[in-house]
């Protein structure tokens, strides 16, 4: 393999130059009149033609060089493909060892940030980067169950995120529930533990709504399913906007209680977190705590989906993705299989939503627009359907990338003060998507890891197990 790599066959330059010359000739033909000549008016209103040989030459030269470069790139790439690197093996290894490394990094992340930039600057890095990315990782892992494993294209996943967020927000801010809880468990206890009590409720409610969505779409697949789920997401959002008595409409819900440290609030008061542990009060503790909550929630999502893949229900999901008729002929209850996929996927969306509400302290329908669904789906697809590590990488690139754009202040010096790099995030997002799909049409990590490895090593080379492209 190595010897082969070194003795790469030479690129056929004559063919490339011919090809580029041909492209340049076409460009010349096209642009000679379009660009090469410019109509203009003279002072006495006569139309004259102004030749522009320099511009024309520059364009044709650009086409020539561009075509040459593309041709060279294609030629080298074709050789690379012919050499047949055992790609999928590396990918599977990456998935196997990359995940623990990533998790280890995440656990240490807040402390690392704290020590490098100090408590003042750390909040931004932990909150905007850490927590924000982790929310999307969790949503990506949750949606991955529905889309990646069960193959049900869901464009309305944000609906369950919204259900979770509003469940927590409404429960935690509702006076009747507060009075009721005060009678049963005491007001102080309810205040301290509201998040932890509501979290499972939010998950269960979201799962319930997942099932509710599941029933009407049981017989749909592919594009039709996508349209109905898209509509479902919009319906939930529109209900939240218009049913003002219930959800307070556009104004949203504010003053949502923040999670406590297992009963100890993050306040400057005497019974607060800082005082209890003899620390100086700082908002950073809450941020770090929130970071670890979402980290744990995300890891639970990952652990559950990894475990489920090895259980009959998970295998049924994957089989369902592959061939529904075959599933039925093998006695798999496809109805239950689909409903559990929707319900479990939705449940994790609900958890994430409850966390989101608790972290923000304020929610409104604005946070649950279709763009969110699209972004989560993009994360799953970019990551490579079904790959957990892929979702992590894609979240960091997409979510973290946008945050990074906000940081690029020096660009203002280059492009002038009016330039706000964050405004271009959608453009960059789009370009990245297109490039990604050209470069790796099946996502970053596309090899599917079998759920079982046989004990005896069978001599099956990696490319037999490898994913085909197409």
């Amino acid at each position: 393999m190595q010897a082969e790599t070194r003795s790469r066959p030479p690129v056929d330059w004559t063919r490339l130059i011919k090809d580029a010359g041909f492209a340049a000739a076409i460009a010349f033909g096209l642009f000679a009149l379009l660009v090469g000549l410019k109509t203009d008016q003279t002072l006495n209103n006569q139309m004259i033609l102004v030749p522009r040989p320099q511009t024309l030459f520059a364009l044709v030269a650009a086409v020539f060089v561009g075509r040459l470069l593309i041709g060279y790139w294609q030629a080298t790439r074709a050789e690379g493909a012919a050499r047949k690197k055992p790609r999928s093996n590396t990918m599977l290894k990456l998935e196997k060892y990359g995940l623990p490394v990533a998790v280890g990094f995440l656990v240490a992340y807040p402390l690392m940030v704290l020590f490098t930039v100090g408590p003042q600057g750390a909040i931004k890095w932990i909150d905007n980067f850490g927590i924000q990315i982790l929310i999307y990782i969790m949503l990506g892992w949750g949606l991955n169950i529905v889309v990646g494993l069960a193959g049900l294209l869901d464009l309305g996943y944000v609906a369950f995120y919204a259900v979770g967020a509003y469940s927590y927000a409404l429960f935690a801010t509702s006076e009747p529930i507060k009075d009721f809880m005060a009678q049963i468990i005491g007001e102080g206890f309810w205040q301290a533990w509201a998040f932890w009590i509501c979290l499972p409720v939010a998950g269960i409610l979201a799962a319930f709504w997942g099932m509710l969505l599941g029933f009407p779409v049981l017989r749909l697949r592919g594009d039709y399913l996508a349209i109905v789920t898209l509509a479902f997401g919009e319906i939930i959002r529109l209900v939240l906007i218009n049913w003002v008595e219930f959800s307070n409409g556009y104004a949203g819900i504010s003053a949502i209680p923040r999670p406590s440290f297992f009963g100890i609030p993050f306040t400057a008061a005497d019974n607060g977190f800082a005082a209890t542990f003899g620390l100086e009060f700082s908002p950073i503790y809450r941020t770090i705590f929130l970071f670890y909550i979402i980290l744990v929630l995300a890891l639970v999502t990952a652990a559950v989906s990894m475990r489920l893949r090895r259980l009959p229900v998970g295998r049924a999901w994957e089989a369902l993705r592959e061939d529904e008729i075959a599933c039925r002929s093998l006695g798999i209850n496809t109805v239950n299989t689909k409903l559990t996929a929707f319900a479990i996927g939705a449940m994790f969306g609900g958890f994430a939503g409850a966390f989101f509400a608790a972290r923000q302290g304020f929610i409104s329908p604005e946070s649950f627009v279709f763009h969110e669904s699209a972004q989560i789906l993009a994360i799953v697809v970019l990551g490579g359907m079904g790959s957990l590590l892929g979702v992590v990488i894609a979240s960091i690139l997409l979510v973290g990338g946008v945050e990074i754009l906000r940081e690029l202040d020096f660009l203002k010096q280059v492009f002038g003060d009016g330039f706000d790099p964050a405004q271009y995030r959608m453009l960059i997002f789009g370009i990245c998507m297109v490039l990604m799909m050209l470069w790796k049409p099946r996502g970053l990590i596309s090899a599917r890891e079998p759920t079982v490895y046989l004990k005896e090593k069978k001599a099956v080379s990696a490319d037999l197990v490898q994913e085909g492209h197409g």
Partner: protein
């Protein structure tokens, strides 16, 4: 040799109640009728073949037995139980396995995982044992257990489809065109396997085939379906000798 289905079974078998009794089954696709009142008996331990032209309704009958689509009229009784209105996954649990038309393996899953899916009806209870068994029947699968099913050759995929159906330890095996698109040598191999599981384990097999000559030679009894109706039945040998069958389904001469 009769022209009517009910009397088709040989005398000793007719005395017993059939394992699978299809009576007057009518199946529709929307308003289009595909089965116009089909009667079929399959007795325990038999190989029964159903032949017929393209579009006759053979696959529809297979799928109707499995409950998708459901028969609008008539009844299907399996082992004394009426399964006409039962959902497919419950029918599968009664010990019927189906290898549907066109292989339909799970392409992105490994051969091993495909076989696991086959055994999932009975929760992998005899998985290791049965894996060994199907690997003995189809040694090619043993060499390829880790390979993705989608990368198997057509014949290997068909072997996998049959093996997967066998993994559920069915009493009744429904096979829809197992020889579709396979080389003659592989076809013979697959028919040999069908004969073997029938002879050795007494598995009942109901087989739909275009390859009428081989299928009728293999079968104890056979049915001929034309346009959603059974028009002929008899033992395999009787049908093979029948001039009408010869003209319609054996043309082109298999030696």
């Amino acid at each position: 040799m009769t022209m009517i289905a009910e009397q088709g079974a040989p005398a000793p078998a007719a005395a017993r109640t059939p394992l699978l009794a299809v009576r007057g089954v009518k199946t529709y696709y929307g308003n289009i009728i595909a089965l116009k009142g089909v009667d079929i008996d399959v007795h325990r331990g038999e190989i029964v073949t159903l032949i017929g032209a393209n579009g006759a309704g053979k696959s529809t009958l297979m799928m109707t037995i499995f409950g998708k689509p459901q028969a609008r009229e008539g009844s299907i009784v399996y082992d004394g139980r009426d399964i006409t209105r039962m959902p497919t996954h419950e029918i599968a649990r009664l010990g019927i396995a189906q290898s549907p038309e066109g292989r339909r393996v799970f392409p992105r899953m490994s051969v091993y995982e495909n076989l696991q899916m086959g055994a999932s009806v009975n929760n992998l209870a005899w998985f290791d044992e049965d894996l060994e068994k199907v690997c003995t029947i189809f040694p090619r699968l043993r060499e390829r257990l880790q390979q993705r099913a989608g990368t198997l050759s057509g014949g290997e995929q068909q072997m996998l489809a049959i093996a997967r159906a066998l993994m559920s330890r069915p009493d009744l095996l429904l096979l829809d065109e197992p020889s579709l698109g396979l080389a003659p040598l592989i076809v013979r191999q697959i028919f040999e396997v069908i004969r073997e599981v029938n002879a050795r384990e007494g598995m009942t097999v109901f087989l739909v085939e275009q390859n009428a000559y081989h299928a009728l030679k293999l079968a104890h009894r056979g049915y001929v379906m034309v346009n959603g109706l059974i028009t002929m039945s008899g033992t395999g040998r009787e049908l093979l000798a029948d001039p009408q069958v010869k003209a319609a389904y054996l043309e082109g001469g298999h030696h």
